[in-house]
Every structure is written in structure tokens, then in C-alpha cells.
Symmetry: D2
Subunit: 355 residues, 4 copies
């Protein structure tokens, strides 16, 4: 039996932090051991946390004291999960890595460092070898691994098997995202009551940039057209849903495609986490629904086992010989953040990067 590893969760009272706490409270070999916070240091976790997820704060963590974000206090910690906000995350994560900790970050700050992996374990697990380069170059005992933006994952997870197997020339994505993706306090209520909030050019651009990097790292069975020639775009919005990013993609191809072949490809898609039977790997990373009104945010965001780890795809449709439509739904704080982080940790453990 595997040794129980102790995890520190930075930003443990935030919207992604709580999913780490909830999921690790049920994890077979990673335990929430150190709950770091900022405004609430010294207070019992259960008293200060805003538990914006299912159920109630697990009993085993409710009385744990929130502690400072300080590597010196974490002697017996084996892994550090960092869902810290942009800007704050960067230097703190470097400090932890320097001190010898494996850091799994959901923050954007190091996502585009050339020696830092940005992992969706089913898609680009081979990029974890960047860690060796990173340690060498930076002379660190620890390391940083990141996960991509939730919005990018929601589109990229189903687009990747398509891109790997068909001559995809473009993908035009319209996102309808939930509030939890922006953290708390996040989006002002008057922006989303009786309204749709466009997220603007910058958010569109970073979504496209991250999807592009993910696609650039998958192993393709077709090599045509090259990724540089693929037109990708995203039009991003938020509305008044609590969790779950919903994304409509129109996908174009260089040759005729059959949407049924694509459906099959998506249904059969598996990755290394499934082969390794990692505990947080859902049996199917992608669940395809055939009803014409699914996926729905309220009903499908918890899909998979563990809940929220499968992306649900639906409304697959042949638009023209070389164009198809696809809708995907991702639980942004689980598969798109904390769950993705835990799956990454499991992969790193399996590969010997965390002992």
C-alpha cells in the first residue's frame, strides 16, 4: 500500500481551494494536511470558508486552523497545490519550488515559461519531462507544473482527439461561462442579472493561446494542416450560473468528415491516466450525450467519477461536408482546476516525480 502523502493547499478558502479540500478529504493517498490562507489565518477552516460547492465542510478539516503561506512551516508537506490568483501566484510558487516542494499550480503566472509543463494528463503527459530541464536550469529541488485555464480545457479536451485524428482547419468557439471561474468577489451581480457579460478581447485571446499550446503538444495521427494554419477563435462570456463552462464549437476540416466518426473518436478517447488507473481519472474523460438538449449546466457539470472530472459533449451535428458542430461542458473548478491538479499529482507520483 502506498504511503499517505500530505498536501498543502494554498488559497484553501477560495473557490478552487475548496474543491481541493473536498476532493482530497476523500482521496486514497493524498490528504489535506496544511490549509493556507490569507485573511483568516489562525481561525478554524470550517468557520471562515465560503463553501460554494456540494454538501458541507468535511468534518476532518472543519476544525483545522488556517495557516500562513510559508514554506518554512510546512516541513512534513509532500505536495503543494496552488490555486492562487494571477500575479500573487508567480513569486510564491517559485519560492516553494526553490525550497524543494513539488508545486501544482492552477494559476496563469508560469503557464508559458518554456520549461514549465501545462498539463492535461490525458493529452500531453509526455511534457512532464520538462521538469528535469526546469530543475537543472533553475537549480531547484522542487518544481512547478501548471494546469491550463478552465475555459481552454473545456474546448481543448474534446478538440484534441479531433485534431489528433482529422484534418482540422479551424474551430470557432462561443463560451457561456459560470461565475466561479472568476473567483470571489469576482463578477459584480449587476453585470449578470438580466444580462450576458462579454469577457472582451484579452480573455478571448488567452483562451485561444492556451488551446493552441495544448494542441501543439498532443500526438497527432494526421499532420495536416500544421497547427499554424488552423484558425482558432473564442468569443467568451459569463452569465449567472454558479459552476460549469458551456462551449459551442464549430469545427472545420480540409477534407470531408463524418460526424459519426468524430462521435466515435470522442467516445473512445482515453489517455495515460486511464491506462494507469489513477484514482481521480474518470473512466471516460469525454462523455458523449445524444439527446438534442444535452449537455445542460445544472445536470451535467457533475458528470463522471469522481464527479466533475468528465467533460460532457453533445449536439454533435454535421453542418456541411467539412464542418461539424459540437457543444462541450466542463466543471470549471473541478476538471478545469482542482480535479485537474489532483490528477496531475497522481500522474507525477506514478512517474516518480513525487515520492
Amino acid at each position: 500500500m502506498r504511503r499517505i502523502l500530505k498536501a498543502a493547499i494554498l488559497g484553501s478558502t477560495g473557490l478552487v481551494g475548496i474543491e481541493y479540500v473536498r476532493m482530497l478529504s476523500q482521496h486514497p493517498y493524498i490528504k489535506p494536511a496544511y490549509l493556507a490562507g490569507k485573511g483568516s489565518v489562525g481561525k478554524p477552516y470550517g468557520e471562515v470558508v465560503r463553501w460554494q460547492t456540494i454538501g458541507q465542510v468535511p468534518k476532518e478539516v472543519a476544525d483545522m486552523e488556517v495557516k500562513p503561506t510559508d514554506p518554512k512551516l510546512m516541513d512534513d508537506v509532500d505536495i503543494v497545490f496552488s490555486p492562487l490568483p494571477q500575479g500573487a501566484a508567480g513569486p510564491i510558487e517559485e519560492q516553494f519550488a526553490k525550497e524543494g516542494f513539488p508545486v501544482i499550480s492552477n494559476s496563469p503566472d508560469h503557464r508559458f515559461d518554456p520549461d514549465v509543463p501545462m498539463l492535461i494528463p490525458e493529452l500531453n503527459s509526455h511534457t512532464i519531462s520538462l521538469i528535469d530541464e526546469q530543475r537543472k536550469k533553475r537549480d531547484w529541488k522542487g518544481f512547478i507544473v501548471t494546469t491550463p485555464l478552465c475555459t481552454a480545457q473545456g474546448a481543448a479536451i474534446p478538440l484534441a482527439p479531433i485534431f489528433m485524428n482529422f484534418k482540422m482547419t479551424g474551430a470557432y468557439i462561443t463560451t457561456i461561462q459560470s461565475l466561479s471561474g472568476a473567483g470571489y468577489p469576482g463578477i459584480p451581480s449587476l453585470d449578470v442579472v438580466d444580462n450576458i457579460l462579454p469577457l472582451g478581447d484579452k480573455y478571448d485571446a488567452k483562451t485561444i493561446k492556451e488551446i493552441t499550446r495544448i494542441l501543439s503538444e498532443v500526438k497527432r495521427n494526421v499532420n495536416d494542416p500544421p497547427l499554424e494554419e488552423v484558425a482558432l477563435d473564442a468569443t467568451t462570456h459569463r452569465i449567472a450560473t454558479v459552476h460549469g463552462h458551456y462551449e459551442v464549437s464549430y469545427v472545420t476540416f480540409k477534407e470531408d468528415v463524418n460526424v459519426e466518426k468524430i462521435r466515435e473518436t470522442l467516445e473512445n478517447f482515453r489517455g495515460e491516466p486511464q491506462d494507469l488507473k489513477l484514482p481521480t481519472a474518470p473512466e471516460k474523460p469525454i462523455i458523449v450525450r445524444n439527446e438534442d438538449t444535452r449537455p445542460q449546466v445544472y445536470f451535467d457539470r457533475w458528470a463522471g467519477d469522481p464527479p466533475g472530472m468528465s467533460v460532457v459533449v453533445g449536439r454533435l451535428k454535421q453542418i456541411s461536408n467539412r464542418t461539424i458542430r459540437m457543444v462541450s461542458l466542463i466543471h470549471n473548478t473541478i476538471r478545469g482546476a482542482a480535479g485537474g491538479g489532483i490528477l496531475t499529482a497522481e500522474l507525477l507520483i506514478a512517474k516518480g516525480y513525487i515520492e
Copy 2:
């Protein structure tokens, strides 16, 4: 000075009915004279109506009695506006037309009769000549004219000038629609609280079918490719907004296009209602916004003068040489229904079809 025309509004207590009543209460030469209803006959309009629009019930109609939907009682009525629901509308509208009334319908029942115009006055005003054919064939003194589905109008109004002037090959539309488009009681609350409701294949299909008919009737400056070769698709949804349909379109072309040329085309677009200075014609049928977070439903649905008569377009973007993105917003019960119906009436009056 023009004679004041008397209008009957069928379904006058419904969500489109109230906009007819509100707009006609301020109209220079069409007055709400006969308010027809179903469940509330005999009661004062102001007491029974669910006024799901701006302000309060206009004083001049608040005390009017709701009356039966019976042509025999409408001796002095000059025009009949019919926003009746699908199924109910068809036979009633025929009866009124047979009795000699000009009927302007927002219902789908006669939209695809080959001798019935489906009018967006800025786009296909020449199709009103179908009325002559209709009267002859059906031996009617009156006639039926329809307006298209609000969702179809929201995309078609800005797509039409593009299709007329550029070699468009496809348009992939994702709609995020408001609740009022489904009437009352309409959408159950549990379908849209913390959820996005996909409208399914049938609704997608009728949206595409109506956009196609509209485009088939505009006067093009380019004739390539033919409409049959243009790939159109719509993925339709409703969320918890009260009024305003928001639509994201990715548009493809046979040749390179410049999005700035398209912006200019949209900004300069005018139609016959503008030439005729019809009172319900907004100065600009399409208002183009350049900010990257506009249009927004709450802030832009009342655009134009009269309010709600302009479609607001934004987030125009060059995706690739032959692909652009565009977002449009339409006030579904005004431009997409009652306002469109009144503008149609004004056109018919100007052309001598209503005296």
C-alpha cells in the same frame, strides 16, 4: 395630415401584445382601438395585463375593456395585429383576412405560405407584391403579412447586408436568447436558474430555415456563391434574461474579406423604411459598437429610436483571411415582433395596401 387608423391587437395581454399596445399608444397615426384577449374578456385591460415591459400601462388604454377575438365586432378597425401563438393563429388570421382586414402576423403559421410575405421592411419590401397574388388566389378582400421569428431576425438583419455585398459561404450562429421569446408561462424557472437551456434540433432548424428565406429575398450585389451553397447553422439556447436575443456569428467567405469593410457596410446599411422616413424606422437599422464588451443585453436592447428598433452589432473581428466574427443583439419583442409589425404596417400604408 394623415387619417388616424384604428388597430385591433389580438392577444393584447401577451408579451408581444403589450409592446403593440405600448408603441401604438405613442404612434402618430395608428391607435390601439380594440384590445382582444381570451381569458380576460370584459375586464379592464390595465387590471388583467402582465405589463412585462418598461413603465406602467398607458392611461389611455388602462380602462379599455378586453374584448373577444371576433371580426364581427370590429367594424371600424383598419388593421389587425396578430401575435397569437402557433396553431391558434393560423385559422383566426385567415378568418380576419377573408372578412377584409389587413392582418399583420408575428405567428409562424403562415410564414411559409408561398403567397404570404415574411417581411423585414429594410430587407425585402418588394415582396409585399405577393399580397396581390394572395388576394387573387384566395379571393380575399383583406390579406395576411407575416414577420419572421425574432431569433432569425437577430442574425438575418446584420447577415443580409454582408450576404448582399460579400461572397459569403457560411454563417455559424450561437444564440443566447431571452425568456420573453417563449411567451408566458413559457419556460419553467427550474430550466434557467443556474442553467442554460438548449432549445434543441427543431428550434435550431426553424431558425436556419427562416434566415434562409430572408436571405433568398434580398437584392444582392454579388451573386456568388448561390444561397444553396451557403452553409448556415444555428445552435439555440435560452437563459434567464427577460428581453433581448444575443447571437454570436462566425461568417466565412469565398474570397478574402476585410472586416473593416464589413463594419462600414453594416454602419451604412439603410432600407426603404429609412428612405420613406416611416415613424417606426430607426435612423440606423444596425448600430455598430466598437467596445470589446458590447453589445450587452441589459444596456443595448433598447437601442435606436423608437427604443428597441435597432439591432446592435459588435465584437467584429477578423479571424482569418476568409472568416470574421460578429455579435448581434435584437430586442425580440420589439424589432423581432411588435415593432417589426408596426413598421410593416407603416410600409403597407405608405404603399397603399392599407388605406
Copy 3:
């Protein structure tokens, strides 16, 4: 070890039905064995159910076929749970009771039959002896037991210990209720988006009537004033929350009271289900929160163990010598319906009414 009892759930795809299915899937000795439905007979439960609760449909029931509501087909069923809608429930429940089934009903149809218990197990468990009278009088082998309206329970559970121990003269209750209390399709979305829906005189009256009956059946330590002299009122509303009824009560007394004594009374309140350690009995039927912004619907509706079985009370405040304020929150489909029904079943089993 106790024999596993087989339960039939009528209306199993409804909003209360799904909570029965979810809770019984985890129950130590009552199993969901027969899922009755109406529109979806013959189809797999997991495919047709609208799972408007946490998680996904439990695997053990997902493939079960929805069956007709027919006692003849339920040979091996031990208990029948009936969350059927008003009107439909009455005759069906009678038929099942006549056929020998113990029927636990969440419907209003038999709540005021003088020989039918209306149970909140912590408050009036002694009234189950009405069953003997009922069987005798009606010559039934089975019987009907009901649970009160969720809204009434939300106020009555915390009011009861106050009424039992202090000379209460009045309670003025304002409710802000969730949508699931009205079933599906239930409340039209346009009634609750950017709105508060008053439920009107009838709903107010039935809430008061049911609270009155509950209070009339508790065992009091003070007998002054008599219940007939206690002024009770409720002003009821629904808003766009999915689950959880929130109720503000102003409570008046004949003598001076100390709100801290009331807090203590509420905190220490226990009932027979706690003494009997019934599996669905929460340790504390009432959880008192001291923060001035709790309870909150999103965060407290799942309180207790099993989740949703505790009523959360807060904002206790001394208004004047003889007036206090109290806020309470109940999970309407759990404690207020399915959970209350299961707890009732456990009590009946413990008492030998179900074998």
C-alpha cells in the same frame, strides 16, 4: 441485523421523488426497489429523470425501469413513499393503503383527515397511534401517514420548542421560498427573474393552518396562552433559488423572555428520532448559527447529517422584552419532504408499524 425493506417511490422522477431515490440509495435498511412514474414508464430511470439535486443518478438505480403506479405490480414492496401532486395523490394513496401498503405521503390530500397522522418525528411522534384508529375505521390492512408542507415545517420545527417552553402569543412569519417547492414545471421563469413572487392568500392560509396543527400536537411545558389565542401569520413568496426555504419570524410572548434562553432551548432540542438513533435523524434537528449573516440558502441548506436534515436557525435577536426575532432555513425537498418521509418510515419501523 435488520432485514432490508423494499420501497416503492411514486412520482419517482419528480423533485421530491429524486431525493427519495438519492437518500434511499445510501440507506442502511430501506432500498429503492420500485420506481413508479407516469410519462416515462418502461424507460430507464437514469435516462428520463431530471436530476435536480447534487451529483449524478446513482449507478444502482440508473438502469432500473420506470414502472406504472399500480399496487398489483408491487408484491414484494414493504413501504410506499408518495410525493404525488395534490389531487392525484388522494385516491391513489387510499388504494395502496387498502391493498395493505404502509403509505408515507408528502401530499396535502390526506393531511387533515382526523385519523391520519401528519408527522414531524421530533415533534409529534405520539400521533402515530392514529394509525390504529385509521385501520379500524377504514378496515385497511395498510395505512396512510403524511408529512406537513415544507413551508410549514421550516417555521414549525424551531417554533415548536419555543411554544412548548415559553408563553408564546404570536408568530409573524415572512417566507422567501425556493422554486423546487412548486415542482416541475412549476413556477414560470418570468415570475421570478428580476422579481419576487407573492404566493397569495391561499398559500399563506395553508401554511398557517399546518403550523397550527403541528403546534396543537406537541407536548407543552407551559399551557398558557392556549393555542387558540396565539396569533399566527405567514406572508409567503418565491424567488429564484433552487432549493431551500428561508423564513423570518417575529415571535411575541405574554411575559418577558430572554433570547439567550430561547437560543439554548433551540440548541438543546432533541426528539424521539435522536433517542432512537434513527439513521436519518440528524444529531441536532436544529442548528443555531451565531453569525449575523447566517443562515444563507446556498451555504446552509445541506446542513446536518444526513445533509439537509437539520433546520438552521440564526439572527436570534431580542426586539423588546416580549418580542424576539428568528430566521430559519429548511431544505424543502429533504427535511421538508423526502428526508422527513424516510425519517417517518424509520420511526414506524422502530415502533413496529412496518415490519
Copy 4:
């Protein structure tokens, strides 16, 4: 004919600022002449304002430049309206008063200065004589007048005529308030989606304090019991409505009352603004609805003429001989802020305090 007065609106792009701009754009003798702002100085008002109200930005102000909040630049301004936020408002308003401007403030900063009137023109117009004292004491040419908190006004406007004419002993108020009352960005969306946000002890307390001051200044026809003996309480909340504060009051009396007498008193209530026929005075400050599901936020917040200036009361009910229930609805940014401010200005003009 009256001279046109020029108004400066501080915080003109805020949620109350926009109602000042909208209402004054239609005012017979006060014009929006100077639009002050903070972040957007130098830009056209129509471009930077978040127009969270009906219609679109009026043409006459859309191109006006937003200017600094500096009395030196306001030579020709006759009145200053100040809906500035708490804390910021205080010193700025003093500066303007010192410079000779009449300042009408919706901010709390000076509401409890003993020489500053806190006006609801229908209720305590005689307190404007405090201005004389204020000017003398502070040696100011200008002066400050305030309006009360919107929440306090929503209850106090209908409670005042009751308190003036009946032996009221208590009022227990539960508020369900809208988001615009908290300004922008204001309430985080995650606090109100699928939730009710309690506003806590401080907000409750200030509501009670302001209602108390208002009642202390009305002219009573009964003097028993003294106000000190009247128990007032408020339990305050916000939910996801945009505009409109909805308040449920249980009101108790020392002697038997008849709710029909109270209904009559409310219906007949008029104040000095009605006698003076001030342009912003609604014909009826209180509109009583008799339907058991009114008022409703969406449908009644715009009641009165000008729209939003009447408080709508409903669900009047006799609870016991000495207790009644009442529901009231106020448009918080109009009657509760900008509209109340403009009515106050009109009163001050009529009384010669502004020339």
C-alpha cells in the same frame, strides 16, 4: 414662467446619478448642466456611463463631457445633487455648502447632523427650517439637505400615516432588497445567485435608526404611545433583483384597529408636495393594491407619475385585533434616492431656499 435652474450631479455615472440625469432631462425647470464624475473625467457621458435604467442615455446629455467634482468650475450651477458614496460624500458636500451651493445629498454622512434636515417631502417638510440654523451655526452661504436611506423610506412612507393616526406600538419589517441599492460593483454575483444575502446587524440597525428619526418628525394626530415605546425592527436582505425594495411589515397597536381604516388612511394620504403641485410629486404618494399577489417588484416599481415616485402597498390584512400586515415596494434609486432628491429641490425652490 420659472427661470431654468442649472443642476450639477455629483457621481453622475453611478446608479443614482443616472436617475438624476434621466429625470432632470425631462424636468420643466431644472436642467442637468454639469455632470461630475471621477474615473471618466474628460470623456463623453454617453460613452462612459453604465445606463442601468430604462431606455437609452438622453441625447441632450450623451455628448456632455464628464467633469471634475470641483465647486470652482461650477460658477453657473444653481443646485448640487450628491449621491456620492458614504465617506467620500461628507467633506465634499461641506465644501460645496461652504462655497454657497445648496446641496441635496442622498449620502448617509450628514444624515444625523442635528442641523441637517433628512427629508421625505410628504412627511417632514417643516424640518427644512433647520437650514436657517445650519447656515447660521456653520456660517455657510449654501447648505446641506439629505434624504434618508432607500430601505428606511420604503417602510417609513407607509408607516408614517399609520403612526400619525393610530396608536402604533411596534413594526417588524422584513426587507427583500434589490442590488442597485448597493451601487456598482456592489454585491458580488456569487452572493445572490441561488442565494439570499442577509445584510447583517449594522444594516438592520441603520434602517431602524432612520425610520425612527422620520417617525419622530411627523405630525401626529395621536400621541400615544410615545415613539420611545414603539418597538421597531428590520431584518434586511438582498436578492438578485435589479431595482425595487420589497418590505413586509407586521404592525401592532395599543388598541383594536380595523385594517380597512388603515387602508383608507394610506389611500388618502397626501403631503405638502401634492398641495403645492410640485412637478415630481406623484398624485398619490402611496398606491394601495388590493390583489393578493401585488405589489410585485417587476411590475410595480415604476408606479406613479413620474414613474417610480409612488410607493405601492398591498397585502393589507387583519392578523388579530391589534395587529395588521402590510407589504410595501419602493423604487430605491428613484423615490428612495434621485426622485426624492429632486422632489426635495422642488420643495426648497417653492419655499424660497433656492432661487
